[in-house]
């Protein structure tokens, strides 16, 4: 007879303790700082929301009125930030975005209902971090259209940018098909560009030495 048949209560207690420890272990797993709030398909749809973007003319209000509910973050690195940035912007380099204190700050800003505007040297630089923030649930983050380079060009007349197309992206500026069509009725020839031609002379072998 085995011990657990003689004394079933001991087995039962040991077993319950085992299951309890397993459950506690599962529940107290360290939670990651960031988790995805949107699925991939939701993220794709979210790209088309117009309120996910911040437009250059809206900067005028931010710079002059300094409202409490809008914060500008410059994701470029410190040196470039020092050379020139939008007045009132804070530097939050892309490399320190994943630090715990910065994530906590973003969470606080979201809970307070503050709009966060991200910008980089150009719109492309801030695009990645902005998408990431949106996907992990920070829906208060907006991307500045045109980036810092567009702002710098138009900083004296921001209100006029409403009528400008310069900051817009995602449309063809040329008629591609027409531009790329063969011209002058020339036949399509696939000659590659001229390259330097190394000329190697045939190695003369000595017939007497057995070569040919």
């Amino acid at each position: 007879m085995h011990i657990h048949e003689l004394n079933p209560w001991r087995t039962l207690i040991a077993l319950s303790a085992f299951v309890l420890i397993l459950i506690i272990g599962f529940l107290t797993r360290p939670k990651p700082l960031l988790t995805y709030e949107k699925t991939i398909s939701e993220s794709v749809k979210a790209l088309e929301e117009s309120d996910a973007y911040f437009y250059p003319w809206e900067l005028e209000n931010v710079i002059h009125e300094k409202p409490d509910n809008i914060v500008l973050f410059d994701i470029r690195d410190n040196f470039v930030f020092g050379q020139g940035h939008i007045p009132g912007a804070e530097n939050l380099s892309a490399s320190v975005l994943s630090r715990e204190e910065n994530i906590e700050r973003m969470k606080k800003l979201r809970d307070m209902g503050v709009t966060v505007v991200l910008y980089g040297g150009d719109e492309l630089q801030a695009n990645g971090p902005w998408m990431l923030y949106r996907q992990v649930g920070f829906n208060n983050v907006k991307l500045l259209k045109g980036g810092y380079s567009y702002y710098k060009e138009h900083k004296d007349n921001l209100a006029l940018t409403k009528n400008d197309d310069g900051y817009k992206t995602g449309f063809p500026r040329y008629d591609y098909a027409e531009m790329a069509a063969p011209k002058d009725g020339a036949a399509f020839h696939t000659e590659p560009e001229s390259k330097p031609v190394p000329v190697r002379r045939r190695e003369k072998t000595n017939v007497a030495a057995g070569g040919c």
Binding site: H4, S95, M179, P192, S194
Partner: protein
């Protein structure tokens, strides 16, 4: 059978089944957000129009161009050997099979580079590597390859080399323009046979 054994077996099976259900959902496999952030802040994903033009001309088999514009725009004009996967259709059947093929370099193309970059982020989230973004997009392609600008006379020689390459690429892609700029004069390097000394054992 002993009652305790049966009880024990049931508990084990329930625990095992429970741990399977914890991970079951319909979302495709993804990488963690902080890993994605580390990938996003690297600028190594951008590839220039000159590099892509060179790969097409040389017939590089590892290049795979993915156009993320809409189908109508793709039908009007597209780069040679590119396939069309609009951003909205990323998760459609079979589209994800184009990624993750070992040895291929996937380059995302759009009008500018923002949409291609957005596609890159989503594909990266799904865990696929070897993906790139064409910097400047098709607008830049038109400005550099289809209609390259001649550099000013005080530009460094490298700019002229790039320009002559671009003129050649222009001929390749549009089949036009027979004028060959001076910078691409054929340079004939003549390598003379190395004269060996028969006495020293050469031939």
């Amino acid at each position: 059978m002993n009652r305790n054994y049966i009880f024990l077996t049931i508990v084990m099976l329930v625990l095992a089944a429970g741990s399977i259900f914890l991970t079951m959902d319909n979302e495709p496999e993804q990488i963690e957000p902080d890993e994605l952030l580390q990938e996003i802040i690297q600028p190594t994903r951008y590839i220039t129009t000159d590099q892509v033009a060179k790969m097409i001309i040389q017939g590089d088999p590892s290049l795979m161009l993915v156009d993320v514009r809409s189908e109508e725009e793709f039908a009007k004009y597209s780069l040679p050997r590119s396939i069309n996967i609009p951003l909205q259709n990323l998760l459609d059947d079979g589209n994800l099979d184009y990624f993750g093929v070992p040895g291929t370099k996937v380059v995302f193309v759009s009008d500018d580079d923002i949409e291609a970059d957005q596609m890159w982020v989503l594909v990266k989230r799904l865990g696929f590597g070897s993906t790139y973004v064409l910097k400047g997009g098709l607008n830049c392609w038109m400005q550099t390859i289809i209609d390259p600008q001649r550099p000013s006379d005080d530009a460094p020689y490298k700019d002229f080399e790039t320009y002559s390459f671009r003129k050649g690429a222009q001929m390749y892609f549009t089949g036009s323009g027979a004028d060959i700029p001076d910078a691409s004069k054929v340079d004939v390097k003549v390598r003379r046979r190395e004269k060996t000394n028969i006495a020293s054992g050469g031939c």
